[in-house]
Amino acid sequence: MKVTIDNVQVEVEDGTTILQAARKIGGKLVPPAMCYYSKLKGSGGKCRTCLVKVAQSSAKDPRPMPKLVASCSTPVQDGMVVQNLTSPEVIEARKGVVEFLLLNHPLDCPVCDQAGECDLQDLSFGYGMDETATEEDRREFPVIDIGENIKLHMNRCILCYRCVYTAGQLTDKRLHGVMYRGDVSEISTFIGNAVTNEFSGNVIDVCPVGALTDKTFRFKSRVWFLKPMNAHRECSKCAGKTAVWMFGNEIYRVTGRKDEFGEVEEFICNECRFEKKDVNDWIIEGPRHITRQSVISANHYEESKKQSVINPIEGTMEIQE
């Protein structure tokens, strides 16, 4: 099944979504996704940042789709032609969506633990407006604890539902969900209940913003001062493969290993995440690769795998793949 995204053709299997096809190509043309999470069944379609234009539905039916579609939940068809960055309409719509997402999002990045690894920050940098058009007050909620180690800042939440799916799919009992509706809806637990199970900490990793934060790490350090290292340990509950974030010889926090799209490779248990903060608990494998664009890459060097060679004809230095 062949699909063309921003003039790049890719061959994918039947049932693949446009977003997955774009991720297969990689690079800049991958639509941003705030709510879609490939490991969570049913996620996606909500944030509308991944909207793309389908210029040709399929080889059989060359008509364009009437509306922009959410690339994370639209399956590809053979001969489909998709425009993402090449369509001004898409860029406009995405700017609109980012404006909506930021409408009630507090400007507290300087005190937010997610700063530096926040999907919404990246998105606003790419598509946000220079100034706000709103003069209305932002909605406000109290900051609450959900469980022993997790803090919920509902003000920052963009209602992507990722944590709801995580709680529903990783654990037996549904512990939290969305209450109320419209622009006053909020993530919360059942009256007075705490989120207590061995995998609840993963809601922190899946949160695209700083709404759910790790209480064992809150205000300890900015993420770009830390060095992420691959580490593992013998764990009876999970695979024990994690990323530990170190400053000197100290472990500040433990997270799942995130790939280039910000998704964890494997979910980890609470014991690994919250309790094992001693270097002796872990077997450190080595530093994790961080994309050069990330702010976390400041003060973080890694050996280049590319070789430099001199081009004998031009007499210039070239980087060999």
């Binding site: 922009l68 399956p75 404006e99």
Partner: protein, 458 residues
Amino acid sequence: MGGKILLAGIDIPGIRGFDVYRAHGGYAAVEKALREMTASEVGQEVNRSGLRGRGGAGFPTGLKWSFLDRKSDKPRYLVCNADESEPGTFKDRYLMQHLPHRLIEGLIISSYALGVNTCYIYIRGEFKYLVGILETAIMEARQHGFLGDRILGTDYSLNIYVHPGAGAYICGEETALLESLEGKRGNPRIKPPFPAFKGLYGCPTVVNNVETLAAVGPIILMGGETYSKIGRGKSTGTKLISACGNINNPGVYEIEMGLPVEDFIYAPEYCGGIANDKYLKAVIPGGSSVPILPADLMLNTAKGEKRLMTYESLADGDFETGTMLGSGGFIVYDEDACIVRNTWNLAHFYRHESCGQCSPCREGTGWMEKVLYRIEHGLGKMSDIDLLVRVAKNIEGNTICPLGDAAAWPVASAIRHFRKEFEFHVKHPETVKNIHHGALNIEEESLIPDSGTGIKYW
């Protein structure tokens, strides 16, 4: 408020009960369909009738039925959408309250045509008193052998269940309705997959409006061919219109499609003209979601033709100068109506009813409501008007379900046609703080007398 086809016999005392309904020719359509016709013949008859979905979208019913996945070995379901909550629309309530058996009859025939053995009526929670009426009707039909196992001695069995909602407008959207029916939070699903393939409990499902299903009985009796001759062009049959607002005779009317809008508003057998000898200012012809139109564009299209009550004629001129028939909630505003206040009121409704699932609708509806509140209360700025247009444009078409569009259209159309009034609100904050009705009339009065009829409108 008698009727021609759907509301036929509504004036007969006791028609709500089975015996009176049966004595006046009730359930003859069920007998005809089940005894003389095959399921596919019933489907063809509906297809031939040109019946279009009466819930608002106007999608051909026969075509919708043909999409149902018949190859699947899962059970199929028919769901009757009785979650009528659109402001201005109250036609289904009227039909169910007075003629519950007409709906049951339609449900039996439709279920037979679709090969469905379980049918649900999802009814709006606020219509609690109708639940009893419908359940009584179902019980009566069952007692007389029209429901249950082996209906009328044939091999066909059907059960109908009534399920009340919990008071959410969004549950009128078909996939949110299915979620709610399954006992979940009423969030619209992401399509595809469409309900025809994966609907209720993951099984093939058809969701139809009350009025659409009720029309199936009469179609079978009179034949699809005859039904398609009623009306005009592709808008066949009759339509229930619930008229309200500043008119002399508010109520539910069954009109033949193709009736001129002017006749509908001014004829004594319908709305009977504008109340208190005022002038017509604007009309929302299809429930609060459709664009509002000023009087001149409502009575005549931009091309100068008479506007008719059909899907096509009302949509003539697209959104620039047209609107939609929608669900038939006909809201009439006289010269005293304040369009800004009205738009704010609608925006408030959509903000309250947005499910909060997708960001443009969740944030956009709230934003529009806040800005409109400011304009209406004399705190607006000139830039707010363009801001509203921009926000409405950013919501429109970018949401999961049509609620986003429904919220954006009234605001966009009100500004498109009544921008002056919005500007007046910004320029005269002190006046609008004290006067909540038609403030623009104070500044300038422009009445356009219609040369043909002598009717004056705003």
